[in-house]
Symmetry: none
Subunit: 521 residues, 2 copies
């Protein structure tokens, strides 16, 4: 078994992704979680360029990582300055991390065009910077910027740069595919050539511009690299960095002879993925390999039929090995088998007569534009209704919504009149729009009766016209996604009507009823 | 140069993706666009399992594809039935597509456990099904389900199944990595072994469960496959199918010796990607390789500096080769090239000062959630407004919309008070929903002044929440598509507001103003 080191740069390279903006506390929380997971290296940031990153390292001084080595990132010393006198070096030294990660130039072209120094000066900058930190008792990970482009255009010079790094005492030499343009076969070839040029263990750092970041990382490992840099969920600039989640899962579960995280830790990858999305307040990629909510979701009737017979037919690994779970989606493409599978989870599959009524009702509703694959909560309520086990927590007498614009922008007011526990609740609320106002009025009416509703919030709201032909007179489908802050569960509900307000009302009511049924257990 | 065929299954396998739900019209629109792009094969659906797909093929009978071959998908005949008598075969025959795609079993395990027939019967099912369609003058693409798992567990039997398909006259034999669990090195090895077993040209069909779908497709091509199946944007079940956009771009721009789409068509990949997301009302993946809005966006200061010196330092290809563009995230000038192109069409590009004001306003509006890709009419009006050449045909004093439900379903009424030609028009109308009612009242108010408005109808209406975080209180973007029955022109308009009614009003007014300006020539 070859041990493969995982080097996480979510907090530095990952933070370069569009829409990614970690607060200091976010960074500390994520670092603690990665430490707990046992990643070998955690890169915290670029102290010279970013005060927040400098502050992050101050926090680590007070409470160091337990399992992982913290890394501070910087560039080689400037031209014509002693390493000891360079402000970047001082910032890195001050970070007091056991590991310093230095990025330097490999490509003669970049040395001339971007850095604008002599080839020898670049080599001195690399060697002196690394030697300086080694003399200060730090371990140095050396990142070779544009490694593959450099090796392609001038292998002799590229080799000199990594040999200088090796002689200076670098702990690891990391080949970076900086612009993400290299193909797996080139990665493999150049990795073997680099391994022949230095004895220092090699690492790989890839980007996903060709949708090959994971394949490129695996190709480098097969060619001898023992250290992989990436980010959680593939966050990063442009198309992102290599996703360490997919890489760890592939190395641990799919490939032979490599040792990464323990099975216990691999089983927490889904949780880790979700945690980073939550902390970063980022929209998750639902079909993300291994850990996405769709990764083991089955929709096609033919497939579901087979999945129920032999799960691994359509699952390359058992979902639980990465802490994920199988989901059966209800949809027009699915045959009876999906519905049975879902009803089974609700413990109703034995009742053949009920199953037939459910099936009939689903078909009927799908023809009217309902769509249950993203609305499992509405589906569950529908089954309960048809089973006669559903008791509504409130009934509508009327709602009334008014929107007007007198030139100074639109204003909206909604009133609802409900019957709850033999009481009549008649409430009014304003809102940013009709749905928001209805939601507010509904919550006012129910608050006293069902205080736990405060735990529930709407996280997404989608509207789709079903048959475009008739335009605004056509039916609309509203899908609402809700979340229970008390346990993190999210659920979808659906409403269909010619009137977007009525369709939204339907989805709102289902969402609230689902929460209320849930709380009764 | 080896010609590599692109086989698109967005409309069948792509439609299995969670949240993907194409209407019949959506499917026809996408098929026309793929046909225009010149994909070799377009798979339209599974006529037996899905009436909507059967209806799709009826539409193609009336207006056949011009450049691509349409394919209807189905399974091998059932056990113990003559192919000619099997309902699945009849449905496929009735679809009248030049190509029929048949999926059959390659793995002895699935033959025994899922299909539950003898190994010989499975081979007969494959051979007879293919031979039957060949006898009916159809070309047959044969998809080998679980090809790689099957070849791994029992290569001798797997080989027999594809030899039977080859002898029966299959046009292509497509190796499917059905559960997405195979690694590139295995794909390459088994592809070479399959090529040794049959002379029929081979194809590859992969899924992204290990985040290797694109790498696996390229590995198969390098090993001799000449036909690649996938979907636009990698839509598909679980983690999705291989993304044909990344595959086409890699084959055309990154790898040597392969011929796919022409450079002109490759330069339309970004447009195609956006089109499929828009039609499907799907959230786009902003960091999607090659075509995502972030794919050439630069955030890191160090990078931006270098990008300005030597673009290709941090761009593996020029963005325009795939119809994308560079964005520097500090200055949000997205879409500049589109804006200039559109303004040129309006004959305003030479006015540099106007151009700058337009750019400024667009950036400003994009930050508020406006999106002009699907709203060229709103853009044209915006340019006229900034140029000072726009004279409104009516002005709003107020509108008032009421929706209520007293238990007998929702009813809606809208009033509008407008100033038109120094007259005040105050009208009321009912509608199926608030937008429909507003549209009706607006038309009543304008009919006498602008009779030609009767020629105009709304053909589509889409709503999307812009930032999901705040749910129903977030801003919504409304896009309306209108058509002029007098000349068949269609145009899109957009409105953004926290209030869906106000956003819809904005888009409605733009749509009507565009028609009125148009009639003035």
């Amino acid at each position: 078994m070859t041990k493969i080191e995982l080097y996480d740069t979510t907090l530095r390279d990952g933070a370069q992704g569009e829409g990614v903006n970690f607060s200091l506390d976010d960074k500390v929380l994520i670092a603690r979680r990665l430490d707990e997971m046992g990643f070998d290296f955690i890169e915290g940031g670029f102290p010279l360029s970013n005060p927040k990153d400098a502050e992050f390292f101050e926090r680590l001084k007070k409470e160091p990582l337990k399992n992982s080595k913290a890394c501070a990132f910087g560039m080689t010393r400037r031209r014509g300055v002693k390493a000891a006198d360079d402000p970047g070096m001082k910032a890195l030294l001050h970070s007091e991390t056991p590991v310093v990660t230095i990025v330097g130039k490999t490509s003669d072209f970049h040395v001339a065009e971007v850095l604008r120094v002599s080839e020898q000066e670049n080599i001195d900058m690399i060697a002196e910077t690394i030697a300086y930190f080694v003399s200060q008792g730090r371990e140095v990970v050396y990142d070779c910027e544009h490694f593959f482009d450099g090796w392609k255009s001038n292998p002799a010079y590229a080799a000199k740069t990594i040999q200088a790094a090796a002689q200076a005492g670098a702990l690891r030499i990391v080949m970076c595919d900086t612009n993400g343009g290299t193909l797996p076969e080139e990665i493999a070839r150049f990795t073997k050539e680099a391994a022949a040029a230095v004895d220092t263990p090699l690492g790989i750092h890839t980007h996903n511009d060709c949708e090959l970041a994971v394949a490129n990382s695996l190709a480098a490992v097969d060619a001898g690299a023992v250290h992989v840099q990436g980010t959680i969920n593939g966050l990063g600039e442009r198309c992102g960095n290599a996703d360490l989640i997919s890489i760890a899962a592939n190395l641990a579960l799919k490939k032979e002879g490599y040792e990464v995280l323990s099975p216990k830790k691999i089983a927490r990858l889904s949780e880790l993925s979700g945690y980073v999305y939550e902390i970063g307040n980022l929209l998750r990629r639902i079909n993300q390999p291994f850990v996405g909510p769709s990764a083991f979701a089955h929709k096609g009737g033919m497939h579901v039929h087979a999945v129920n017979r032999v799960a691994h037919s359509y699952e390359h690994i058992p979902p639980e090995t990465v802490g994920n779970e199988r989901r059966i989606l209800v949809s027009e493409l699915s045959g009876r088998s999906n519905i049975i599978a879902t009803a089974t989870k609700l413990g109703l599959a034995e009742d053949a007569d009920l199953m037939n009524r459910v099936l009939e009702e689903i078909v009927n509703r799908e023809n009217r534009g309902y769509q249950y694959e993203a609305a499992e909560a509405s589906f569950a309520l529908l089954v309960r209704k048809l089973a006669g086990t559903f008791v509504p927590h409130f009934t509508l007498e009327k709602y009334h919504v008014t929107s007007e614009n007198q030139g100074a922008g639109a204003t909206t007011e909604a009133t609802v009149k409900l019957h709850v526990h033999d009481e009549v609740e008649h409430r009014v609320a304003e809102g940013d729009g009709p749905i928001n106002a209805l939601d507010a009025a509904l919550r006012k009416a129910l608050k006293a009766h069902y205080p736990k509703l405060a735990q529930m919030s709407l996280v997404d709201y989608k509207v789709r016209v079903i048959n475009s032909e008739a335009a605004t007179a056509a039916s609309v489908r509203v899908v609402i996604e809700s979340r229970d802050e008390s346990d993190g569960e999210t659920w979808g509900t659906v409403g269909v009507d010619e009137n977007v307000i009525q369709a939204s009302w339907e989805a709102l009511v289902d969402s609230i009823e689902y929460k209320l049924c849930k709380d009764e257990g």
